[in-house]
């Protein structure tokens, strides 16, 4: 999937912008290696993921090897290495969700979106991942779509979640087209 995206020039350009932004910010941060994980978290928080080259830059900043940074980033579940979709979907597979069929929900998203967990759709609209527990076990099975937590998810609700996003996108597009038309006529 990363390879697919790398072919995408637009993504390349965006990644370059991200790397420039990181290069501009890094000098202002303490070189104490205790700050390593917080720095990686900050990069991911601002840019959504850790671009491959950013880890080399971080390594240079802390004067440690890139292998160490990569080793740490891959050790922790929080970090991702490809850009998230505009609608990141996190399927909870905690104990309660698993017993109530979380795996089936993940499978339904996989089928509906045509991507595996940890991947992003080509149009960067959706990304799919599994999380260990979001701590809403009484509402299982749970899926986090963007910032919103969907509770008691069923295969039909998976369809509903995706359709809702599509419909909202369409409404936004239509509104935009209408605005343009109005401004044209004016």
């Amino acid at each position: 999937m990363v390879d697919n995206l790398e072919q995408d020039q637009e993504v390349d350009l965006e990644e370059e912008r991200i790397l420039d932004a990181i290069a501009a910010e890094l000098p202002g941060i303490s070189r104490d290696v205790h700050q390593l994980i917080p720095v990686l978290q900050k990069i991911q928080h601002i840019h959504g993921y850790l671009p491959r080259d950013s880890m080399g830059m971080v390594a240079a900043h802390f004067a440690i090897t890139a292998a160490k940074v990569f080793g740490i980033a891959t050790f922790y579940n929080q970090f991702r290495f490809n850009p998230p979709g505009r609608h990141p979907i996190k399927v909870c597979l905690g104990t309660a969700c698993h017993v109530k069929g979380g795996e089936i929900i993940l499978e339904n998203f996989t089928r509906r979106l045509g991507i595996e967990e940890g991947e992003t759709t080509k149009d960067r609209e959706y990304s799919l991942e599994r999380v260990a527990c979001v701590g809403c076990c009484a509402l299982a099975p749970v899926v986090v779509v963007g910032e919103k937590i969907e509770s008691y998810v069923t295969p039909s609700k998976v369809e509903g979640v995706v359709t809702e996003i599509q419909v909202q996108n369409e409404i936004a597009e239509r509104a935009k087209a209408q605005d343009e038309q109005q401004s044209d006529s004016e």
Binding site: H98, I104, S151, P155, S156
Partner: protein, 649 residues
């Protein structure tokens, strides 16, 4: 002496204004609406509820105050709303969506005519008209020591915490000194609530006696256990209680630095704690020269990056130092040599939250709750197939049966109980025969389970124990840090065998292998992740061996859960001609119309998600589930017009 007021005097000044505010909340001039707005409330739609209230109040021109509070632990009833209407006792309503909010505004808040009994859960105070919450078994049997203010105070308003006695314990310890509180906690026999049950007072004493300075205290809020969320609730609903406990711990060991290690997956908890730290600093309850005393504490938050193993003290320290979270051999214990080689005390959120009330009420009071060996209370997140899931705080020593059947209302939909999984991935599955086990660290360990961090998943007969064991081993295998060979490779091998079993593959040798390998992993692992990882396998093998045998001998999953071993079909005698309910819901379009205009499932396309079972109207109830798949009867199905009809035209 007038120029140097004592900490208690300074606190009294702070509390006076807080008390006035609190007083006015309890004798409100305008209606006050409290909405539970922690993570679980939000998941259940509390934001929509708040918007609904605001909109309806604005339309009617009613003046009312909306206060967001934390979580009461009653997840089954979310979104929870408490309305304090002048002249009425505070009334709690359950499952209040935007629509219910509108009804409440129209019929109750507008003139106080009809208090909407249909949504009422109960009154918070004794009165003559309304049933109180204490009339429910859930409230009657609970003993709230740590969670007593959760869901009742505004976590973002320090005054609320001050008004209910907040930071008084800290002031007391500032006056009595660190040695006093170490002795008090030791005498209270407070055991660490993170899972291991190590006495907190002894840990503090070690660190207090350590010579090296500065010392560090860490609050472990890296709740990685799937199925447990009480730490999150405490941090979101009563953050100052955690901070007060942390400050007392720091004072006890003589630390000048405190760190809260919180999972990054809990953004709301991180945010709530950060705001609470800022508010406490502003009032001089944290920071430099706390309450005028000779004690300063620098408090910071570190976000854990999501590694289960970081719940282990030494691994947590590694990750704070910017390394992979891999545990190391102990001793030296962190209390002697921890973060950057400094004496470090690490306590769980629940342990620290318990400290203020012990300081205020004394160790004798604490020892009067719970059992002799484990005084105090335990918080469990009881989830799964129970009637009233949520967070429950009970005295140590109550039986599992009491907790599941009386407090949490028993099994949902009247299905039979099968097993309860306690202690997360490190715990075990206990069957009905073990339900009389009292809940405390030692008794649970004896039956092969574990207190862990208090996750409890109750399962009915629809849950397959082999699959549950596979799930937990899958989790621990993924989370193994890779340091010890037995944990790294052993769990992988366990997982392969269990995966095979859930597909109906395996042999008697595999079962023997599960047993011996599990024992070897326990012996050959350094930290408790590896030492406890085989627990789910061992307990399920011990209590549910028949189920294992059925999987590979008969290729049958008795609980009808393992998808490779089951199949769905539609009973043509029950199916209704012309009904299309199941067709529309099928995600793979595997349902077609038969020659007599009933429905059938194309087994090749079916992914066994079970959605058609829910879609089939209850009056027909025609979808059947069988294991093994060969049990599908030959019903002589022919597709309509000789070809399978396209299911969505």
């Amino acid at each position: 002496m007038n120029s140097n007021p004592t900490p208690s005097e300074l606190l009294r000044e702070l509390t006076q204004t807080a008390a006035k505010q609190w007083e006015s909340l309890h004798n409100p001039a305008v209606p006050i609406i409290y909405v539970g707005h922690a993570t679980c409330g939000r998941a259940a739609g509390s934001q929509e509820t708040i918007d609904g209230f605001k909109e309806a109040l604005a339309e009617k021109g009613i003046e009312a105050e909306i206060i967001t509070v934390g979580c009461l632990g009653h997840c089954y009833a979310e979104p929870l709303v408490t309305i304090h209407y002048p002249g009425f006792p505070p009334l709690m309503y359950q499952k209040v969506g935007a629509g219910e909010a509108r009804v409440l505004v129209n019929s109750f808040l507008q003139g106080g005519e009809d208090p909407c009994f249909e949504y009422l859960l109960g009154a918070l105070e004794p009165n003559d008209t309304f049933p109180t919450l204490m009339d429910y078994p859930r409230y009657l049997y609970e003993k709230r020591v740590i969670m007593n203010q959760c869901g009742l105070i505004d976590p973002y308003n320090l005054d609320h915490y001050l008004a209910v006695g907040g930071y008084q314990a800290l002031a007391k310890v500032l006056e009595k000194g660190g040695q006093w509180v170490v002795e008090e906690i030791k005498s209270a026999h407070l055991r660490g609530r993170g899972g291991a049950g190590f006495p907190a007072g002894i840990k503090w004493d070690f660190a207090r006696q350590a010579e090296k300075t500065p010392k560090v205290v860490i609050c472990n809020g890296d709740e990685g256990d799937p199925g447990a969320y009480m730490d999150r609730t405490l941090m979101e609903s009563n953050p100052h209680q955690v901070l007060e406990g942390l400050a007392i711990a720091a004072l006890a060991v003589g630390a000048s630095r405190a760190i809260l290690y919180i999972r990054a997956e809990y953004p709301l908890a991180v945010n709530t704690i950060e705001q609470a730290i800022a508010a406490a600093k502003e009032r001089n309850l944290l920071g430099d020269r706390i309450l005028g005393a000779d004690f300063s504490l620098e408090v910071s938050v570190f976000q854990g990056s999501g590694a289960f193993v970081c719940g282990e003290e030494t691994a947590l320290i590694q990750s704070l130092q910017g390394n992979r979270g891999m545990p190391r051999y102990r001793p030296p214990y962190p209390a002697v040599e921890g973060l950057d080689g400094l004496p470090t005390v690490i306590n769980n959120v629940k342990t620290l939250s318990t400290v203020p009330s012990i300081v205020l009420k004394g160790s004798h009071w604490f020892k009067s709750i719970g059992t002799e060996k484990t005084p105090g209370t335990a918080i469990f997140s009881v989830v799964g197939d129970v009637e009233y899931p949520g967070l429950v705080e009970v005295p140590m020593g109550v039986s599992l049966e009491h907790l599941i059947f009386e407090i949490c209302g028993g099994i949902k939909d009247g299905k039979p109980f099968k097993a309860v999984q306690i202690g997360g991935p490190s715990g075990g599955c206990l069957p009905e025969s073990e339900l009389s086990t009292p809940i405390d660290f030692d008794s649970l360990r004896q039956v092969g389970a574990m207190m862990g961090s208090g996750g409890m998943v109750v399962m009915n007969t629809d849950a397959c124990m082999v699959e549950v064991a596979r799930y937990f081993v899958d989790f621990t295998q993924h989370e193994s840090c890779g340091k010890c060979t037995f944990c790294r490779i052993g769990t992988r091998h366990l997982l392969e065998i269990l995966k095979g079993l859930t597909k109906g593959e395996g042999s008697d040798d595999d079962i023997a292998e599960l047993q011996t390998l599990s024992e070897e992993i326990i012996k050959g692992s350094l930290c408790s992740l590896g030492k406890t990882a085989p627990n789910p396998v061992l307990t399920t093998l011990r209590f549910f061996k028949d189920e294992y045998l059925a999987h590979y001998r008969d290729h049958r999953c008795p609980a009808l859960m393992c998808r490779e071993l089951i199949a769905y079909y539609i009973d043509l005698d029950a199916c209704a001609r012309g009904c299309d309910a199941c067709v529309a819901c099928c995600p793979t379009e595997s349902i077609f119309t038969t020659s007599n205009r009933k429905k059938a499932i194309d087994q090749e396309k079916c992914v066994k998600c079970g959605e058609c079972v829910y879609a089939c109207p209850p009056e027909y109830d025609a979808v059947r589930k069988v294991s093994p798949p060969e049990l599908i009867p030959d019903q002589g199905i022919k597709p309509l017009d000789g070809k399978k009809e396209e299911s969505n035209e």
